[in-house]
C-alpha cells in the first residue's frame, strides 16, 4: 500500500485498517513505522528549529524514538493488564492498534509543525516554547490514545481502570524516554549535544521544576548530590 494512501486511511478511518479476517500486521506495520519516522522526524525538525543548526538533525532523529519507545517497552505489560481485565486481546492486534495510534498522533503533530515553527521563528521565550511544545504533544497524544482505545476489542471488566493503568505504564515510559533522549528544545546559551549524560530521572526534574515554581531554586542537583554518583553533572534544565 502506498504511503500516501496509508496516511489517508490512518487519518480518515483508522478502524478500516483492522477490518476483515486476521490482523494485517505484516502488511501494515512497515508502512506505519515509516509514517512515524517521517512525521515524527518532521515534528522533531520543527522543534530543533528553536535552537537551529545541528539541533534540527538531532531532534528529528530522536523524536520518532521517543514516540516508539512506549510501544517497544510497555506493550507486554499493557496486554497483560487487558487480559487480566478479561478482554480477549491478541498481541498482534494490540501492536497494530498501538502503531496506528502512534502514527496518527505523529501525523497530527507534524500537521501542527508549521504553526509551531512560525512561533519559534519569532524568538519565543524558552518557557513559552516549552509550553507550546507540550500543548502540541498533548493534543496529538490524546488523539492517538483515543484512537488506540477505539481500535481495541470490546468486552472485559473494569475497562476504565484498565485503560488508566495502561496509560500510566505507557506514560511513565514515554516520560522517562523523553528525559533520556533530551534535549529537544535547547536553551539559547546551553551546549548542543545529541543526548545528555544519564542523570537522575524525569521525576526528579519535575520535582525540581515544582520547587523552583515555588521560589526554591536549589534545583534537584543541590538536594540530590549526596544520593547520586559524584560524576553526575548538573542538569542544564533544557528539554
Amino acid at each position: 500500500m502506498a504511503l500516501l494512501q496509508l496516511t489517508v486511511r490512518v487519518l480518515r478511518s483508522p478502524a478500516s485498517l483492522l477490518d476483515g479476517d486476521g490482523v494485517p500486521l505484516a502488511k501494515l506495520a512497515p508502512g506505519l513505522l515509516a509514517l512515524v519516522v517521517l512525521a515524527g522526524g518532521l515534528f522533531g525538525l520543527v522543534i530543533g528549529s528553536y535552537r537551529g543548526g545541528i539541533q534540527h538533525v538531532f531532534a528529528a532523529i530522536k523524536l520518532p524514538g521517543v514516540l516508539l519507545l512506549p510501544l517497544l517497552v510497555a506493550l507486554p505489560a499493557v496486554r497483560a493488564l487487558y487480559l487480566a481485565a478479561g478482554m480477549p486481546l491478541g498481541y498482534d492486534r494490540l501492536a497494530l492498534a498501538a502503531l496506528i495510534g502512534v502514527a496518527r498522533a505523529s501525523l497530527l503533530a507534524a500537521a501542527m509543525g508549521p504553526a509551531l515553527w512560525l512561533m519559534y521563528s519569532v524568538h519565543l521565550d524558552y518557557h513559552v516554547a516549552v509550553m507550546c511544545l507540550c500543548g502540541a504533544l498533548v493534543l496529538a497524544g490524546a488523539t492517538g490514545l483515543i484512537t488506540i482505545g477505539q481500535l481495541l476489542p470490546g468486552g472485559g471488566r473494569l475497562r476504565a481502570v484498565t485503560h488508566l493503568a495502561a496509560l500510566g505504564v505507557a506514560g511513565v515510559v514515554f516520560a522517562q524516554g523523553g528525559w533520556l533522549l533530551r534535549p529537544f528544545l535547547v536553551r539559547p546559551r546551553a551546549e548542543v549535544t545529541f543526548v545528555r549524560p544519564i542523570e537522575a530521572d524525569v521525576f526528579s526534574s519535575v520535582g525540581a521544576a515544582w520547587r523552583s515554581s515555588r521560589g526554591d531554586y536549589r534545583g534537584w542537583e543541590a538536594q540530590s548530590v549526596p544520593m547520586w554518583a559524584p560524576e553526575a553533572e548538573p542538569a542544564e534544565g533544557s528539554r
Partner: protein, 196 residues
C-alpha cells in the same frame, strides 16, 4: 473467567431447571501457576538490576514474590473456612479457582512489566521505587482479579448477600495487611547491605 449465568449449566432434556452440579471452566495448570510465581520474582529481579549489586538481585528474585503469594496462601484457608461458616452458596472449588486465576493474572502482568523494569534499571537511579512498583502493581492487579472472581463465584443470589460483601471486604483488608507486613520484612532482607 468463571461462567456465572444459567447457560453455564448443562441442559437437562426433561426439565428447564439447572442441575445441582455447576460446570467449572478449566483451572490453570500447576505449572502455569508456578510460572506466574517465578514471573513475580523475575520482575523484582529486573528492577533490582539497577542496584548493580548481584547480591541484591539474587535476594530480590525469591523475596519479592513473597508478599502477593504469601498473602494469598495465608488468607485463602481463612476465606474458605469463613465462607462455609457463613453458609454462603459458592462451592469451595470455585473460590480456589478464582484465587488461582488471580495468581496467574498477577504473574502475567509481572512478566509484562519486566521490560519496563529493565528500562528503568538501565536509564535511571529509581531502582528502589521500581522495586516497590514491581511488587505493588502485580499485587494490586491480583487483588482486583481475585475480588471480581470471588464475586462471580457467588452465583446463586441475584444480589450479593451482605454477608458475602462483608467477607470480601474483610478478606481484602486482611490480605493487604499481610502483604504489606511481608513486604516490609522482604524489603529489609533485599536491601540488607546496601549502603544507606
Amino acid at each position: 473467567m468463571v461462567v456465572t449465568d444459567a447457560a453455564s449449566f448443562p441442559a437437562r432434556p426433561d426439565s428447564w431447571a439447572p442441575p445441582l452440579t455447576p460446570v467449572l471452566e478449566a483451572a490453570p495448570s500447576v505449572p502455569t501457576v508456578l510460572w506466574s510465581i517465578v514471573a513475580m520474582g523475575l520482575v523484582a529481579a529486573s528492577a533490582a538490576l539497577g542496584a548493580a549489586e548481584p547480591a541484591v538481585v539474587v535476594r530480590a528474585l525469591p523475596a519479592l514474590a513473597a508478599p502477593a503469594i504469601g498473602a494469598v496462601v495465608l488468607t485463602a484457608p481463612a476465606l474458605l473456612a469463613l465462607h462455609q461458616f457463613l453458609g454462603l452458596d459458592a462451592a469451595p472449588e470455585r473460590l480456589v479457582l478464582a484465587l488461582s486465576r488471580a495468581v496467574v493474572a498477577g504473574g502475567r502482568i509481572a512478566l509484562g512489566l519486566v521490560p519496563v523494569m529493565l528500562f528503568f534499571a538501565a536509564t535511571s537511579t529509581l531502582w528502589p521505587v521500581a522495586l516497590a512498583a514491581a511488587v505493588a502493581i502485580p499485587g494490586l492487579a491480583m487483588a482486583c482479579v481475585a475480588l471480581l472472581g470471588l464475586r462471580d463465584a457467588e452465583t446463586e443470589a441475584l444480589i450479593m448477600p451482605p454477608r458475602f460483601a462483608l467477607l470480601l471486604v474483610a478478606w481484602a483488608g486482611l490480605s493487604l495487611a499481610i502483604a504489606v507486613r511481608i513486604a516490609v520484612s522482604m524489603a529489609d532482607l533485599v536491601l540488607a547491605g546496601v549502603p544507606s
